[in-house]
Symmetry: C2
Subunit: 250 residues, 2 copies
């Protein structure tokens, strides 16, 4: 039987996300895909391209969660310091990985594999590569830490390539109900529903659409029958309040 709960953290590495210059889209992808694999993303951190910050974040999260996924900072330039920081966090040397070097040598035309590009063959000692089908320079795994590129298309391809190495728990199932009542009108009944269903996590997300207040109510559980039971009671609650409701496609 799979374990009840398998957890993960994401480390989004890069000044460009913190300065607001680039909007991160990797977090949403990771959250969704990990969920499907029965792994709960419990925390995400965005950290700058600063060695001490990255080393500390890697060590704090790898001790606390089953898996850690990093994105960003594995290219050829001086600000790409993730591999060196992960090596430091694990207390192992950063070494040239022969397999990674062979991949780069096969990819670049003669003379193009300069010293900067060759930095992309460096991994912490003992790391296993993660294939990059898009632009070849690989990511890597060491212990429970998976180091991936920041460019979303590359990150996603890397994740799919190493997903078979992950062991998930029971998959989290969810249902989402859109309701045309203001959040404050359903809050009391919702709190009571939550108290009766401790195996179901109930989230409430208000919105305003065409000038009218509404709320999206999300039920999540690893236990399908309990999820269904809570969903039926939620329907009754909304009907009792006279609200229109519809289950969202997921």
């Amino acid at each position: 039987m799979p374990p009840l709960s398998v957890t993960a953290a994401a480390l989004i590495i890069g000044n460009e996300i913190l300065s607001g210059r680039t909007s991160d889209v990797n977090l949403a992808f990771l959250g969704r895909r990990l969920n499907e694999l029965g792994i709960r993303l419990m925390e995400a951190r965005v950290v700058p391209d600063v060695e001490a910050a990255i080393v500390a974040a890697v060590n704090e999260t790898r001790a606390r969660f089953d898996y850690v996924f990093t994105t960003g900072g594995i290219g050829p330039t001086h600000d790409d310091i993730t591999a060196a920081c992960v090596a430091k966090a694990f207390g192992v040397p950063l070494v040239q990985n022969p397999e990674a070097r062979a991949i780069l040598e096969a990819f670049y035309a003669p003379g193009e594999l300069n010293a900067a590009r060759l930095r992309m063959a460096n991994t912490p000692q003992g790391a296993t590569l993660i294939e990059n089908p898009v632009s070849r320079a690989p990511g890597f795994q060491i212990g429970n830490v998976f180091v991936m590129a920041g460019v979303p298309s590359i990150m996603q391809a890397m994740f799919e390539g190493c997903a078979h190495r992950l062991s998930g728990g029971r998959p989290m199932r969810s249902r989402s109900l859109t309701v045309d009542l203001p959040e404050g009108g359903v809050a009391q009944g919702l709190a009571e529903l939550q108290q009766r269903h401790d195996a179901v996590e109930i989230g409430s997300y208000p919105f305003k659409r065409e000038g009218r207040l509404g709320v999206r109510l999300v039920l999540r559980s690893t236990e399908p029958e309990r999820l269904d039971a809570a969903a039926r009671e939620l329907e009754a609650l909304i009907d009792g309040l006279g609200g229109a409701r519809s289950w969202d496609e997921t």
Copy 2:
């Protein structure tokens, strides 16, 4: 003279961001606006609606950074636990704030201010309100922690309403050059440029557009003259490599 460096952290609170169901847009807004005010966003954390996780994140970040901004979890429903968690982090009771109650009483029609909505008047003892011009229920500030809504339009209005309480350092200026060379071709010269200009932070962000590799090079500094000097050398570097280049509008 303003201090050299004023720092901040953002705490994005909510299961819906970690599950990938909702994409966060508040981080990019905060990063950009804080930059303009001379405050550097040094870390962001996304934490679930779990008391222990929120309390720990508030206490770690408020000790480490000049300012902390939280988004999310201040509505009327059972999963809105941010105010209680911040009170716990500061070791003060959560109390009904008379000013906040008056705001809610003035807003809701008679009979509509139920117990759930009244929860939105609770703040940690000693907190100062942050006005909410959109849907009235206020945020609050306690110590160096600013607690705001998760809905982006409300969060942004709250931020603008309390921005005058923030004291920034020297504003960070930046210039961004788009270049039609692959990142690995400019990496060596860029590393040398970075070594000569320690007051300028040089970031390199590769992209692929219409099948061609390019790179966006970002220079950031609090010292305008050093920024300009680095920019001139960067132009010469790219010209020497035979690349086309253009400064982005910012």
